[in-house]
Symmetry: C2
Subunit: 300 residues, 2 copies
């Protein structure tokens, strides 16, 4: 079998059965794309890569490197397979989640403040080890977080929308929150998740509990959380907020018990090697005539 | 068998065969210690717990919760077994090591600085995933660090004083350093480790490599490291320095590429549960007449 594939990286393992053209999404696409059957979209290059889709008459499959794909559905011809990039950011988000938790437990804000004044003043810190950690919204990111927590000898309690073996349902949150040292939210923004942690739920957490959010800001009532952190009763480490960006004068920014990062959990160097690996695996499957992974169910 | 044991915590699982007295190292020890056969020394309570040893005429075994024990050797009667607390701080040190690495890779100093001014300014960060990490001084702490790094999909290269299967010898460092994204030093202070990373060795590291030290500060020539970080070529995250404390006017403190914590890796809440667990396991062995773990070879 000979086919043409269009890929975003020149440095890539291409199966011998395939010939590849390269376009990284910048400038003009290559000429002569009439026989391109498999198209790996460049990542984060705006609308141009998507607009190329209707100009590929031999197209049989499209691979995105994002989890979302709504933007290209209007341009996808009937019968063309679509595979998405779900999971490619999981490890990056898990890594940032651990960075937030360890920063809070091991007092990094205190040490960084001391560093600014050249102060060497020691103190005993909290630890992640032995902490009871609720992962609320347990899915592929949660599993990546869990591997880290297991290495750190923390106790993991899994919570998802509905209970299944080994995983608590979200309805059990009122009985789980009072037992948690750390709560990690990894939830999408849906009507069911909005305001999940409001004042009544936060009040159920034990003193000094750490509230972490790496999903969507809307899951937490930020006014209620700010009140609990301001009083010194709870601590928080947030990569997402509601509203977002967090306004410069928001009272959460300067609080001792708050760590805030500007929605950067998914955007790290861990993405590209995983994106390239997925693309290479999909090209191999395509060359062998095997079904693609991460196929999106399309109702054309 | 009935015996008396002296332990530092009232809340402890004591085997049924034993009866326990409790002393946490504060105030006067209990009266009537004539039949104490097993003594678990209170942790970090100065010289008093050690000075009690000669006042226990039935003593057969002493358990310390520290790795070091030189201070009590002069007071230990001949024939009394000594077990130490090696390993109890391993996870705490590993956890802090990960905190340092993730802080550097995920740009926490930048986000914390932005937090001080209420600034929400996003950027793509480095990652731990896929990094090639040298653990120099691979032992029980290194194994605990490695479990974290495996969860984070980093590549681990083990280095110890002498090569053995799966572990490089320290003599190979000149060929290993040029391949490292991150170097973690977990070394004691010995003549062989002093100045291990000086200007020539640091020059072998690739640009932007991260130098982490959680062992003893003397392993790094701090003047040479400061020059490399000051020029922006290398980054560092140190929990130990030479000299220590780091003087307030040391030029490393204010550098962008430097993270400094004041020798706090071992001192976290993860210690006490592990110390208590070790003590409970040793009491069980003692009650059953089994050999103790962590026995120190004594030449009395």
């Amino acid at each position: 079998m000979t086919a043409r594939v269009l890929v975003p990286w020149a440095e890539m393992a291409i199966p011998a059965e395939l010939t590849a053209a390269v376009w990284d999404g910048n400038g003009t696409p290559p000429d002569d794309l009439d026989d391109v059957e498999f198209y790996v979209l460049p990542y984060d290059q705006g609308a141009e890569p998507v607009n190329l889709i209707p100009r590929l008459p031999s197209l049989r499959a499209v691979q995105t490197l994002t989890a979302g794909y709504d933007n290209l559905l209007p341009l996808l011809p009937p019968g063309v397979q679509l595979a998405n990039g779900r999971g490619l950011h999981d490890l990056s988000v898990a890594e940032h989640t651990l960075a937030l938790i360890l920063a809070a437990q091991r007092f990094l804000p205190r040490w960084f403040a001391q560093q600014r004044t050249g102060t060497w003043d020691r103190a005993h810190t909290k630890s992640l080890a032995d902490s009871r950690v609720l992962i609320v919204g347990y899915g592929s990111i949660g599993r990546a977080i869990e591997r880290y927590l297991a290495a750190g000898e923390a106790e993991v309690v899994r919570v998802a929308s509905t209970a299944r073996p080994g995983i608590h349902g979200i309805a059990e949150l009122p009985t789980l929150l009072p037992t948690a040292d750390i709560v990690i939210l990894v939830l999408p923004d849906t009507p069911a998740t909005r305001g999940l942690l409001g004042a009544p739920e936060l009040a159920l957490l034990p003193d000094a509990a750490l509230v972490v959010n790496v999903g969507r800001g809307t899951a937490i009532n930020l006014t209620a959380l700010t009140a609990e952190v301001s009083s010194g009763r709870l601590r928080t480490a947030l990569d997402v907020t509601d509203p977002e960006p967090l306004p410069p004068d928001h009272p959460l920014w300067p609080l001792d018990g708050a760590i805030i990062t500007p929605h950067v959990a998914g955007g790290s160097d861990s993405f590209y090697p995983r994106a390239k690996r997925l693309a290479e695996q999909q090209l191999t499957r395509f060359a062998k005539g095997e079904p693609l992974e991460n196929l999106v169910n399309l109702v054309n």
